[in-house]
Symmetry: C2
Subunit: 439 residues, 2 copies
């Protein structure tokens, strides 16, 4: 036994939500060997968790890590995508930018208890390298889109980048390459069909897409095909087992039935969707059909923070608002959607998402001593409505500590921050110019 | 000059949102003497703020501080009011309970940057004493209700308690007594009319009420008077200048017009309303009519945390959802509703809510060095969508430090927590009994 964590209040987040009031976890290498209550096994190093909460690391099922560099830019500006984001992406997003922004994101996520992230952006090999270096686990999705993307001018170039990415991380224990058509309207059916075909030949490379996110997308689908966005994705053959569909706000009952049948999974970005004034995804209705739904932050330009604590209250409140009752989306279900269910969304639930023997040792330790967290009548309610990223004390992925006592071990925080701020300064100069030209 | 804070990034939150990038604030006794940018005045002690953000202390315009003791209890249970809250309040809420719960609340609020709170509950003289001891500023409202309240069996007894409270804190520099009819349905028109009359003779005692909060309240008003709740309050003569009305979810255009005309102020409890599945208050519509709206936490059984950072994102997102756009409720407006506008809700905007010469020195210092807060393109967006209570470093009320470097100076944190946990243990025993009896 290489390491035994003792004196822990354990939430396993397994299917039955098993808990251990005074628990222990035995870890060998990257794997949980055993866990239980009472007298811990002897032999190997032991580490006293001081009665703190230990639970699975959280899984952020949709993110654009690089966009930390855009956080808070053009907030409340309706046309910020065309005014700021697209010009800045075209002119300023390079491998250096991606490495810097993703590093800041990894730093923040580790500090907030996120151990696995599904990313989609450009120069995604850089994101993969950052995830690798940070010790996190990640699905890194090369985005393909028909607007002038920073790293490809044609879809052929996009496929080549994806191929490179898939080869670079083939068999990697923590980094999984992914292909990410941006959205139905920005790839259209022929490219989605080509991706479906490519994906069939690369079964270990998950597909991520933004789907049914915007009213304008509905209009495009209606105008182009007389269909709803989900139907267009289906027509292209991409609505298939394992598809990770982000957003899914505008899904009809028939869409959801078809998504369930096709074994599609959903990344739910509550804050991002609401901040854009787009609406509330019908999470309860999707889950009632057996569609796995994971909590996600979206990019930090959309949702601002990258921890899942900040998402919990919106995820819960929005479903209670939709249901006009206090009962929908009980707190334990929100926590499930940040752990085991999110792992299922990423197709990784056999390896992570819960603390069970044989699973990877991805776990976080949370202090419950802040006055704001007390008293604790219902630990899930405490996590969902009162806990915050700063309450996370230790973070482990694959048996390796990424944070101890709030000190990230794998990234040099001051350098990460300095690099990001330097690029933000460069962005700012460009923003001043854009605003001057528009004025 | 007794104290000059230097090297501060100052958000004054005055009407024009003046800012000082490298600012100073000169404080004499409890009062801001002057503030500005550049070379600070000489003489007196100086304190370097290290480039941190300094802004007005936040104003929580509606709370039930004692209910920290109920935090997280019966979360997601639709009938929790009748199942848990009312029995526990009747049997277990005593002056000792109120002192303990309010102390935990004060500890949490100071740590979260709240310097002023409007409370309404029972045994409110105890709450006033806690506020006094904690160094905070507060409006303490004695609740009057027709259900078996823990501290009065008749309205006559309730008025006597209010009279005692008003006398105890008459002329107090930081604690303001208030009278708080619970809600239209739990006082009815004759008692509200009596309160309106009493209030006329006690112009320094603000009136607080829960108004237009629930569908059942609409039904009561319709059935009893063929009116809407706001009209019932108006009929009783209570819809008058300075009324602090909490919630105001179910207000029609005509209701809002009348509220504006009557100079009523609103405490907006975004998280609480949403968590109960009740709905979203039309904040933009009220503010467009000139009704001041302050951000509030409600009691911690309803909203769980007592800092205003946790309210910011919901306040903003909900109005963006109502408006189907990113534009409603810009970030700076949310911050205004937590400072100067909230002070106006409590009738205290001549003394607090912004950093201006002659105003009370109620201010907070916020560190902006957490990776989650970076970069800062728009400081208001950073506050609204990324900052958290743990980022607050120092807190001052009336020129006195209540917290330095995250250490609360005025309350003995370990004792406050131990006292609260002991009572929570007693509650828990009672809860187990209730659940056993119901099972």
């Amino acid at each position: 036994m290489s390491l035994v964590l003792t004196n822990a209040r354990i939430l396993t987040m397994d299917a039955g939500l098993s808990e251990y009031a005074n628990g222990w976890i035995a870890i060998e290498g990257d794997t949980i060997q055993a866990l239980g209550e009472g007298t811990p096994p002897q032999g190997g190093e032991t580490l006293d968790m001081g009665g703190d909460l230990v639970m699975p690391g959280m899984v952020n099922s949709h993110c654009h890590m690089t966009m930390t560099l855009f956080r808070g830019l053009g907030e409340d500006v309706d046309d910020r995508l065309f005014r700021y984001v697209l010009p800045l992406e075209r002119e300023c997003v390079t491998p250096r930018t991606v490495a810097a922004g993703s590093s800041l994101a990894a730093l923040e996520m580790i500090r907030g208890g996120v151990t696995t992230v599904a990313d989609m952006y450009y120069f995604e090999t850089e994101v993969g390298r950052v995830i690798e270096r940070s010790g996190m686990r990640g699905v890194v999705g090369q985005t393909l889109a028909d607007f002038a993307a920073p790293d490809h001018k044609t879809f052929d170039e996009g496929f080549a980048l994806t191929q490179e990415l898939a080869e670079m991380f083939a068999g990697h224990p923590r980094v999984t390459a992914s292909i990410a058509p941006h959205a139905p309207y920005s790839t259209d059916v022929p490219v989605m069909a080509r991706i479906a075909h490519w994906s069939h030949d690369h079964p270990d490379v998950p597909v991520q897409i933004h789907m049914a996110e915007m009213v304008s997308e509905n209009k495009w689908a209606e105008k182009s095909y007389g269909m709803r966005p989900v139907q267009v994705v289906d027509k292209a053959g991409l609505l298939k087992p394992g598809l990770i569909a982000a957003h899914c706000l505008f899904v009809s009952d028939a869409d959801m039935d078809r998504m369930a049948e096709a074994d599609v999974r959903v990344a739910h970005n509550a804050r991002s969707n609401a901040k854009a004034g787009r609406g509330i995804a019908p999470v309860e209705a999707m889950r009632a059909r057996g569609i796995p739904v994971g909590i996600a932050t979206d990019g930090p330009m959309s949702g601002n923070t990258l921890d899942l604590f900040s998402q919990f209250a919106p995820v819960s409140m929005f479903q209670k608002l939709l249901g006009n009752s206090r009962k929908p989306m009980p707190a334990c279900e929100a926590v499930r959607m940040a752990t085991l269910e999110a792992a299922r969304v990423l197709g990784m639930d056999q390896r992570i998402g819960s603390l069970e023997p044989g699973k990877q040792a991805d776990l976080i330790r949370i202090s419950l001593d802040d006055p704001r967290l007390l008293p604790v009548y219902d630990i899930y309610a405490t996590l969902v409505f009162a806990a915050m990223p700063g309450d996370v004390r230790d973070v482990m992925v694959a048996g390796r500590w990424l944070m101890r006592d709030r000190e990230v071990q794998t990234l040099e925080a001051p350098k990460v921050v300095a690099d990001a701020l330097q690029i933000a300064g460069e962005f700012n100069a460009r923003i001043v110019e854009i605003d001057r030209r528009k004025a």
